[in-house]
Symmetry: C2
Subunit: 436 residues, 2 copies
């Protein structure tokens, strides 16, 4: 039984499928999301269908793998039972690969004001807010209200924040320039706030500095050691300083899935399960935890980062150990083989680290491009994404600029909306949180 | 001032852009939707971004055309003012191209049970219900509940109903076959209900019969003279007969946008404005109504059908007349040039009429394919769509099988859901209409 169809769960399922076992994979979504490209959906470069594929389609070649749509709510490890909202399923071996979600560091009230980017739905919501901000500004300017400041604030200088900020700058400065009559999208200000001393803290110092320089070249303002103390619908506070913001995006914190705490094992501060060297539960050797939900320390005592390669290698190791055990052999401990890491920043801008080789700029970006297209699941998606990217690269156009859902003036920009209503003397339309 | 960025409004804007006028186009959405391909999104063949393009991107080459996102709620024709929810805009000439919506013939309570297909959001909702129905059936069967009957009922035998039914049959019989372990998608029953004597009533009799034969060959059950009297969450009633249904889709009725009735001119039964020969408002010659919102009778006294070519030719005629008037010339009456019509049924199945030439089957389908790709707005979309179709044609795969939004057991199948809850002895999870 595998919980979660992310990189770790899928790899475990595929590896287990070779053994004489019956595998059931459960996920809340019907699709696997290629998370490294989610920011492309949030910034209207790709459609959700380009970076997500049905889990059942991915695993269609394996007649011993059953894929079920369902949400796990609890466990009874003693009885070897997984509890769904409306059913219970028993297992012999359990692999929990439920991943991570956003953490607002105790400020959950910030979530509606500053959405994070973990799911396809998150990406669509961010896309909606970004595109609506430009539409709202155009409306106000066309009606004689002058151009309201278009400030986009991205909180968190990790890979996701850097990608979002870089791509937003590209949209404002290159993509939308010719399409607005009343505002100048180039006057958009993109601000990246990082609480620590440097962006991309998981990378070596020289690559952090290079990334910051590349971001500035793209037109992003970077502020480090900037702790966010408060978020309002149209502003972010750093210490006492109020920064007006049309759109606020959250890329600062990651917390393990709440399922981790339900396993009854010790967890770290982020809620990740402290696993044994073979990735098993300390009290239940038949239960494994992998991917973003597992806290696994490498030889130096450093916890492994929440990256796809880590999850995939762990999924494979667990599947192999189950196979070994069924064959009467002992389990082997997990060892992470670090093949390097890459972070993209924007058009022809990226940083990459392969052991002692540090790359940045166009070369790093090319490496990023090819590796991501290569790993994109499903050949068809790969082809479509390649064409879309080639097209965008040469034309500066983005193919998925749809606002779906509520298209009225953004309700989260409380102040601008009320101001506009007051100006016009009209009562505001009934709010519609459902469509948000 | 143009209201609506559909086929009529866009064509009017493009034609007017050549004249020395300032054009403002207002739409509730930021994107033009290529409605003839919307059924492909509803059936997971294409992504929303493939068939929709931002209106401001489509019109980007025209510096005298301003595109605004906003919802028109009323008019003051005497003062030449268009009222938005939170603003008023004045005009010299007004072109109302607000289109049509579903009509449930006085049974608006059927809408949540049997969604129609007019917008990208509609298409995503239909896709969600169709895909979830298979997932629910698999869940129940995997948990030992046996296979629940998978009946899909499409109400309305016009072009949209025929397209939906034909494509659903293809999905059930070809696309999903290898991916489910516990159910057999081929056992899905697709039922097309038409209230009149034959499907595709706007087409000649021989093509109607051919379409019905082609649908049956694809595995669709067609029932004509079948008046729906009642809809429940999991059943459709034809007369007194109860037909169980896992998913119910509505393609039966079209009503003009409610904006039509706010123009103060006589309307027909469907709410369409009875326009003058030059498409103008009977009392306000500076106001025009075009497209699905206009009731225009041809030389034989027949109202023109709600087709893209009608709307586009009308948009062009109105723009030309405004240009003529500005140049001191008299207006000309509108005349519709019928270049023929096509309806697709499924893979290699379609009907087409070009004057006296009636085509059906593969030839009609090829004609449909090329004409639709040709007219798809934006070269990039065209290329992507062509590749997706070629891929789907040869592999029987569909590229956008995403369930977004609520992925829990479908709340609209009230009975099956309760039955399942009862079986398992669990209380149902809190319903979440917001995510629907």
């Amino acid at each position: 039984m595998i919980i979660g169809g992310g990189f770790g769960g899928l790899r475990a399922a595929r590896s287990l499928a070779r053994h004489p076992v019956r595998v059931t994979l459960i996920d809340r979504k019907n699709h696997h999301t290629f998370q490294p490209l989610l920011y492309q959906v949030a910034t209207a470069g790709l459609s959700p269908g380009d970076i997500a594929a049905p889990i059942r389609w991915i695993l269609r070649g394996h007649p011993n793998v059953e894929v079920l749509l369902g949400e796990v709510v609890d466990f009874d490890l003693a009885a070897r039972v997984v509890k769904l909202a409306d059913a219970e399923i028993t297992y012999d071996y359990l692999i929990v690969a439920a991943g991570a979600t956003h953490s607002y560091f105790g400020h959950n009230e910030w979530e509606p004001l500053a959405p994070g980017l973990k799911t396809v739905e998150d990406a669509i919501e961010i896309r909606r807010r970004v595109l609506l901000a430009f539409e709202l500004a155009e409306r106000q300017a066309a009606q004689g209200g002058g151009q309201i400041p278009l400030n986009f604030v991205v909180i968190g200088g990790g890979p996701t924040g850097v990608e979002l900020a870089g791509t937003l700058a590209e949209i404002a400065r290159r993509v939308l320039t010719r399409e607005f009559l009343s505002i100048d999208p180039k006057s958009t200000r993109i601000l990246l706030l990082e609480g620590g001393a440097r962006i991309l803290p998981a990378y070596p110092d020289d690559l952090s500095r290079s990334a910051e320089a590349q971001l500035r070249r793209l037109g992003v303002d970077v502020e480090t050691s900037a702790m966010v103390t408060r978020i309002e619908p149209d502003a972010v506070y750093v210490g006492e300083t109020r920064l007006p913001a049309a759109v606020i995006l959250w890329a600062a914190g990651v917390a393990a899935s709440p399922l981790g705490r339900k396993l009854g094992a010790p967890v770290d501060r982020a809620g990740r399960v402290l696993v044994q060297p073979d990735l098993s539960h300390p009290a239940h050797p038949e239960v494994f935890v992998i991917g973003d939900l597992a806290a696994f320390e490498d030889a130096k005592g450093q916890p492994l980062p929440g990256l796809a390669p880590v999850a995939m290698q762990q999924g494979r190791r667990v599947a192999m150990n189950i196979g070994r055990e069924l064959g009467g052999q002992p389990r082997e401990a997990f060892r992470y083989l670090d093949r390097g890491s890459l972070a993209t920043i924007g058009r022809a801008a990226a940083v990459a680290q392969f052991g002692k080789i540090h790359l940045s700029g166009f070369v790093a970006w090319l490496a990023w491009l090819f590796i991501h297209i290569l790993f994109l699941i499903g050949f068809r998606n790969r082809l479509i994404v390649m064409i879309q990217w080639a097209w965008s690269y040469f034309t500066y156009e983005r193919g998925a600029r749809l606002i779906t859902g509520d298209t009225r003036l953004p309700s989260w920009t409380g102040r601008s909306r009320q101001a506009l209503d007051k100006e016009k003397g009209d009562s505001p339309p009934a709010s519609n949180p459902a469509a948000d």
